[in-house]
Amino acid sequence: MTIDGYCTLGVDREYDLTESALLYGMDRAGVDRAVIAPVDRYLAVSNREGNDFILGTAVARPDRFIPACSANPWYGDAAVEEVRRAVGKGARLLILHPFVQGYLANDELVWPLLDAASAEEVPVYIHTGPPGNATPWQVVDLADRYPSIDFIMGHCGATDFWNDVVDAGKAGHNVYLESSLARPFSLVARLKEVGMHRGIMGSFAPINELTFEWDQMRRVLSPEDWQDVCGGNLLRLLLKRGAL
């Protein structure tokens, strides 16, 4: 099964991905399923509104979409409650975007959300990269503190924290490296060092074009690595909570 590890569904500012457009792109690229996440506005505020949109879309096409949810930890207990609610309604990943949501990734502010993610057995996807709210080593801090959680290092710190990715990946055994923005031509060398079993293909559509990113990844991965990076590894994490 091929899975796109991160797509942003919805229309807001530079985002313009509709359900039908995403399905069209997935079909063209040969992608079976895609993780869908809310647009930035709904990561920062109005989390419930964004989560409900994603969950409602996924319910209509459970064979194609894997819903992710988010809550801004600044909402405190309400954020924890929102994560529990969204996961209870079918969300299979928790998304954190420290740059957009306004904190450092390894701030204790996020611990209550991680407690919930751990209890619910959902992987946590963290957007990483400049300006420094979320770096590869901050993800490792979290991974140390929460060894039961699988952390997905979104974008692998692209671009300026690329120097840290290999060492951080080796240090965090429950850290997975997601490809979007890290560019396929750059990422593969890092995955060879950390291990192909820790790579996750994500297009970050519509910020990147889905079919283009999948075409590019196809150019650089061997057939055996393709199976793991382009679906197998993420599927393994998702199944810890149960069947999709």
């Binding site: 740059f99 990269g129 400049p130 300006p131 671009t159 970050f204 990147n208 074009e209 590019q216 150019r219």
Partner: protein, 247 residues
């Protein structure tokens, strides 16, 4: 005509090919890229190699003058010697501009020595090309601050803000002496730049040459797949790069 406005004569290429650009140029040929802004690499990593690498860029260009548009660098930590070296690059070696990577080279864009260099470049009509998108010395708004202070000097944001500062880069290019090289932002940001920025000050590049990896294919495909007017794409790829050097 396609001009790649962001390439490097990388340390790995120099170590292997010893000033023979044939294999490096073959990579450009594979993708139909005609010319390239050629930036150094040794001179960005090691201050003790700065002068030698500037000389090397001049020699490489002399071998294939129709392919390379070379940029030298200096280290402001060297004080007045840096200003002298900048003048040597532009007036003796014939390099066409100056490239700075404050993150790698470890200086602030606000370094007082740099002021003399910005002035010199402005007086000679040589663009100043920055790595940008990286805190704390290489942000687009910092380069925009220079553009305010040195209105005669043309500044290039070598990465148009990279992936997370592209909105700052879009603000920076409001200044008429700031140009943006679309080498780093994702496809959607590239499309927004093409909608909102002055189309006459957009460039395209690949950062090819830091290693042996072929980064040209991805970035060339990106600019062709992005939803950009064909005429504007041609302008970015082949016309604007030469306009950058017009007096």
């Amino acid at each position: 005509m396609i001009i790649d406005c962001h390439t490097h004569w990388g340390t790995v290429w120099e170590d292997r090919d010893r000033e023979d650009p044939a294999r490096w140029l073959a990579m450009l040929d594979n993708h139909g890229v005609n010319r390239a802004f050629l930036l150094g690499h040794y001179n960005l990593h090691r201050s003790d190699q700065c002068r030698a690498d500037n000389d090397r860029l001049a020699r490489l260009t002399a071998k294939t003058p129709d392919r390379f548009i070379p940029f030298g660098t200096v280290w402001p930590q060297m004080g007045e010697d840096a200003v002298k070296e900048a003048r040597r690059c532009l007036q003796t070696l014939g390099l066409k501009g100056l490239k700075f990577h404050p993150w790698l080279q470890g200086f602030s864009t606000a370094d007082p020595v740099m002021s003399e260099i910005y002035d010199l470049a402005g007086a000679l009509g040589a663009p100043v090309f920055f790595h940008d998108g990286t805190p704390c010395y290489s942000l687009p708004e910092q380069v925009a601050g220079l553009a305010r202070r040195f209105p005669r000097t043309r500044f290039v944001l070598g990465h148009a803000g990279l992936l997370w500062s592209w909105r700052s880069a879009l603000e920076a290019v409001r200044h008429p002496n700031v140009w943006a090289c679309l080498c780093g932002p994702h496809m959607r940001a590239v499309e927004v730049f093409c909608q909102r920025a002055d189309p006459g000050r957009l460039l395209w590049g690949t950062d090819f040459g830091f290693g042996f990896t072929d980064s040209i294919a991805y970035r060339l495909n990106l600019i062709y797949r992005a939803r950009i007017d064909d005429a504007l794409r041609e302008q970015i790829l082949g016309v604007n790069p030469l306009r950058l050097f017009e007096k």
